[in-house]
Structure formats: C-alpha cells, structure tokens
Symmetry: C2
Subunit: 389 residues, 2 copies
C-alpha cells in the first residue's frame, strides 16, 4: 500500500485535484489567475492564504488542540497544508498559531517538508488571529518577506479536504465581487431561544445556509474591514463575510461547496477524517509473489476478487524467491519494519491452494477478505505478520 506522498504529486493526485470541475475549465481559470498578476506587471503572488490555527479545541474533549490531533500518526493541520500547497497558484500560506505551539508547528513543517509557510502568532480570538495573518501580508509591515497579494484565501486548519476546484471558485468570485465564501445546506433547523430557555422562533431551513470555508477576498477589502472593525467584532464575531459586508458594503458571492468541506470539531469528526484519509491513501497495492508460475494462476484471480470489494489499483507483481519457512517470517518482519519508515505497510499472506477447485476458490476468497481488511484498516500494528488464507 503506497502512501499519500508528502509533497509528491503523481497523475492520480492531479486527477483527484481536478475532480468536480472539468479539466479545461480549471486550466483556463487558473491561467486567468496567473495572467492577472502578469498584467499588473509585477511578479508578486496574486493569491495567498491565511489559516487561523490558534484554537484550543475545547469542543473536542481532548487535551490536544484539534488541529494538532494525529490522524494516522500525522497532525491534522499537515493534511490541510498539503491540500493548499498542491495548488500551484497559492504563493504564500500564513499560519497563525499560539506562542505555545510555535515550536511544534515548526517541527511539523520540517517533518512533512511543507513549503512556502510563514508563521505568525495567533490572537486570543479567531478574528484577531486572521487579522495578524493579514497584517503579515500587508505591504506596510517592516522587514516582511511576504508581499501583498491581490486576493487572500481564508481557510480553517481543521478542514483538511479542501479541493482546488472550490478554492479556484471562491478566488475567481472574490476577484469579481470583492468577497466570496463556500456554503452548505443546513443539516438541522436553526432556532432562536428566548431568555428563559424556551423556543422563541425557528428559521425556515430552506432559506438559510451554513457558512463554511474557504472564503476569499480582495486583500484590500478584507484588510480594510479588519482595520475598521470594532473590538466587539474582534472579540465575539466569527464571520469574515459579515465584516466585509458591515465595513466595506461588499455582498459576498456564495459558492456551493462539497460535503467534504466540513470542519473537524468533535472527536467523531477525527474518526471520520481518519476513515476518509485511509480510503484515499490506500488505493494502490503491490503484490509480491514467491514464484513466477503462480502469478497468473493465483494473482490474477485474487485481483478479480478484490476488484469487486475495493477501488484499488494493482501497482505491480514482483517475484521474490523466499528461503526456508522460519527465515521467511523473520525476513518479512524485518523488511516490514524498514519500509514502514517510507509509509508503506507490508504484510505476508500465505495462500493455500489445493487441487480441488472448490477449496481453491474458498482459499482465494479468504485471501481476498484478508487483503481487503488490511487495506481498509491500514493497521500499522499488524505489519510484518504472516497471515494464512
């Protein structure tokens, strides 16, 4: 099982990035974006992103802030950074973290080889953190290596599944309207309570939407809004689109987003994110056989059976001559430990194939079940084990 390579981008990745938008459209719009910078006659990046990541994660019910919670041993925020980094036309990413987590964040950037990230200290509220990120991008800051972008994306560190198409849509709409944001239909009815804790009124669900991320703004619009806005807004507000409306009279364009944009908020969301990531990264399988002649006989039949169960790409068949039995076992375990460092999970499977066709069928089915289980669960605790079908 191959890993989702940090920083790497094969054809499968490119395909995933383009999902949901026709390739031609995306290419045309992306070139439009790059073109805008060129027209203005400057080499400054047209688009930057700000990620507030100063939250404490109190709703999660765990001591680690949710953006740093590990998913398959990797912090959530690293997946989000990866999703943004893959978009070639986002030139700078500014992450706002607490002073306390600054060192941890630097380690994450180094460990997962993130590029083009600048760190700023977060404020005590979400709006103050975003404002700090914007200040770092503004031209009037002394000794700043960043340059002012034309459009700035604001995204959450805890929404790791953002796709290029929705980023492009909000950026394009922001260039036209001054502001834009992703929305989703409401899952629950929204109500307004009275002071005594009883229902005052309920809102018609069809007439309202949940405001999600990413959002994008002409930089001058949102920076102006933050400079104008009241302490009350900075302290208790949560919605950037609201600030653009209130202080710059910009009515943001609303863009329908995909369900994957949801915010990792509760512990159950971590479970869901883990399952989605497992599903995405375990799409390639490499079968290593011990003799060439068995390849077609067993390998291809196993492949057919697995295709019904999983959306898996068979990378390759390798033929490796194994030695004596006990040595095999030790060989597999040692090899598994080595390749685990490259995020490849290796398991041994001994397929028993008798002459009897019915028994062989049963044995292969058992093998397929075991392989499917290992791929789905992506369980690193079981690497190097020799399983028997």
């Amino acid at each position: 099982m191959e890993s989702w390579p940090p920083g790497g981008s094969g054809p499968a990745e490119a395909g995933r990035r383009l999902r949901g938008l026709r390739g031609a459209d995306l290419a045309a719009s992306a070139s439009l974006l790059s073109g805008a910078g060129a027209e203005a006659g400057c080499s400054a990046p047209a688009v930057a992103a700000v990620l507030p990541a100063g939250g404490s994660g109190e709703r999660m019910g765990v001591p680690t802030p949710k953006q740093f919670c590990p998913i398959l041993e990797r912090p959530l925020i690293s997946y989000t950074l990866q999703a943004l980094e893959r978009v070639s036309w986002i030139k700078d990413i500014v992450v706002a973290v607490t002073g306390e987590n600054m060192e941890a964040m630097k380690c994450i950037i180094q460990r997962y080889q993130h590029k083009g990230i600048s760190l700023v200290e977060s404020g005590v509220t979400r709006h103050r953190s975003i404002f700090n990120g914007l200040k770092a991008l503004a031209e009037d800051q002394p000794n700043c290596r960043l340059s002012k972008p034309e459009v700035v994306i604001i995204h959450d560190a805890v929404r790791p599944f953002v796709e290029e198409d929705v980023l492009l849509k909000v950026v394009t709409a922001a260039k036209e309207h001054g502001a834009a944001g992703a929305i989703r239909p409401l899952v629950s009815t929204v109500i307004s309570p009275s002071v005594d804790g009883c229902l005052d009124h309920s809102l018609e669900r069809a007439r309202h939407r949940a405001s999600e991320m990413p959002q994008a703004f002409l930089f001058d619009v949102i920076y102006e809004a933050y400079q104008q806005c009241s302490d009350y807004d900075l302290e208790f507000g949560t919605e950037c689109l609201h600030l653009a409306l209130k202080y710059c009279h910009i009515k943001a364009k609303l863009i329908e987003g995909s369900p994957d944009l949801w915010k990792v908020t509760y512990k159950r969301d971590l479970y869901a994110a883990e399952s989605i990531i497992k599903e995405r990264i375990s799409q390639q399988i490499c079968v290593v056989m011990d003799t060439k002649e068995d390849e077609e006989h067993v390998g291809h039949r196993l492949e057919e059976m697995l295709k019904n169960e999983l959306n898996v790409q068979f990378l390759d068949y390798e033929s490796v001559p194994f030695g004596q039995k006990m040595e095999n076992l030790m060989q597999i375990r040692e090899f598994a430990k080595q390749v685990k460092k490259r995020n490849i999970l290796l398991y041994g499977l001994l397929v028993y194939y008798p002459q009897d066709e019915q028994k062989l069928q049963e044995s292969l089915r058992q093998g397929a079940t075991i392989i499917a289980a290992l791929i789905k669960e992506r369980n690193s605790g079981l690497i190097g084990q020799l399983l028997v079908a």
Copy 2:
C-alpha cells in the same frame, strides 16, 4: 472481545445508560414518570416514541437509505431501536417506513429481536411520516393495538447514540411545558442568501442553536398541531417544535444535548458512527493462555501494557492446553468461525518470550500493539489468524 448484546443489558450497559445524570436523579425522575400512569388509574403506557424512517438518504451519496446502511454488518436503525428499547419506561415504538422497505424492516426486527415495535407506512415527507406514526397511537384509530400515550417522543432513525438521560429530560420537560427538544450550539455561522446568490445577512452564532432530536410532546398537543397544520407545513416543514408553537402556542423547552446526538447524514457520519460503535463494543477482552504457569508472567504484564493504550476490561484468563502446532492453527480458525456467529472475534497470538529481559519486554510490547490494533479495528476479516509477537 464481547459484543454489545442485542437486547441484553449487563451492569456495564446500565452504567452507560446512566452516564451524564446522577443515578439517584434518574431513578427519582423515572419513578415519577411511571407514577403518572398509575395516578391516572390506567395501565396504558405513559410514553411512546415515533421514529420517521422513510427517508431516501440522497445526501449520503449511496443507494441504500442511510437508516438501513450497515455498520459492522448491522443496519443503523437497529442501533437506534436498541437505544430506545433499553429505556424501560418507553412502552411503544412506532417506526414509519416506506411500503418498499416494510419487509426489510420486519426482517431487521426479527433478526435483532427488537421488541415493542409497530410499523406504519411513511408519508412522502418527514412531517407526513410522523403524522402517520401519531395517528397509529391516537385512540380514535379502529382496530389499533396501541394505546394513546401521555407523552410522545419523536426521534430520528439515524441518531443511534441517544442516551436515557436526554430522553428523560425532554420527556420531563414536555410534561411541564407541553413540548421540549434537544439543542446543540451551532458549528458554523448561519447566513441568509439573497436571490442573486450573494450574502444578504449573517446570523449571530451565539444567539442561535441547532435544533436536534429527541423531542417530546404531550401527545394531545402535537397531535392537535398535526391535525391543524397546513399542507404547506406538511410538505415543506421540518420542525415539530415549530408546529407546536404555530398551532398550539406552546413554547417548547430547549434542552442542551450531547454531541453524540448528531444526525448521520453524510458518508463520513457512517464512518464516525462505526468508530464510535467499535469503541463502545470492544471494551471486554478475554485472554486464553496455553499453560497455567505463564499466566502471571506474561498475561499480567501484557495486561498492564494494554491498560495504558486501551480502556479495556479483562474478562478472564482461561487455560487451554493446545496440541501440535499445525493443529493449533486449524483449531483456532475453526473455533473462530464458530464464535463469530455469537459476535465474538477470536484471534491467535503467539508471544515469543526469551530469557533476556529486554527482548522479552520488546516481545510483550509488540504483543500489546497487536492486541490493541485488533481490538480497535474489530476486523472480522482477520479472525482465526495466528499472529506472532
């Protein structure tokens, strides 16, 4: 690993039910509820529940309606029914399903031995389905084996983690106020779009809540509301509390619910539900050793290591004398197949323990990792395998 027994209710279950409310409070309130029926001088049930389950699950992006989606091979609705059945003071549960799914629902009831369930045909909308459920409970229906409850709970088939304490709270509040419902803080800001797809205004998040389930009503209140309400309400409305307010002028009491009350809506919610269920059911482990003398030496040290990783109750140590090696393997696989039918997952683990203390420590740690992985993933594809630590 023991199963979450269908219909069974051990001390661990009772403990879980009482979570979040002190036992004495719960007992007192529960007896208050039973008392109400007795005072009225009738043996009729005081509380019934209606579950609309006619949805098509189109948001899930899968062909099976979400309430019938399997989680660990069992349909989601069966977990929800189990959660309601465990509450002794809920006498009847009326489930509204489409004619198309009526037979499937009957099979689920039989397969998982659900008791006290009545089925009615759902309507084309949520409100029409609930109304059909209420009609079945109303006294004026001919040939009906159900009796009219004093209070009716309305819950969703796709919220499987409802606890007794919140059910009790909404029922108690409904008796006092006429209507009550669970609420949760909003995760996202709610906005109102204008007709051109731009932001009209955003709602202050702190002043609004998401209306969740369960809700409870004096039966006469909600039945009256449904009898009075317009076709427009039945067709496009989604909120029962709104109907009680609009047609009976009852301001529902709002009860803060736990995050676990969320509605399984998207595919990611199925993943989250599966992880939560795995976590809940895999809390008991039975270690079977092959020789008595090793019990303390290895078993207890393994137990200590596992306690750091998992919240697991060690049920028992059993000593089973195994025979020859190959026979062991076959014995384990055959036995695993047998006990799988009782929802017990059995795996073999060969712990290599050398004299060298450091190597032993490493071997035990490896064993603990494997056991933890098996418990966490609850993977039935790997039952009967002999793993090596």
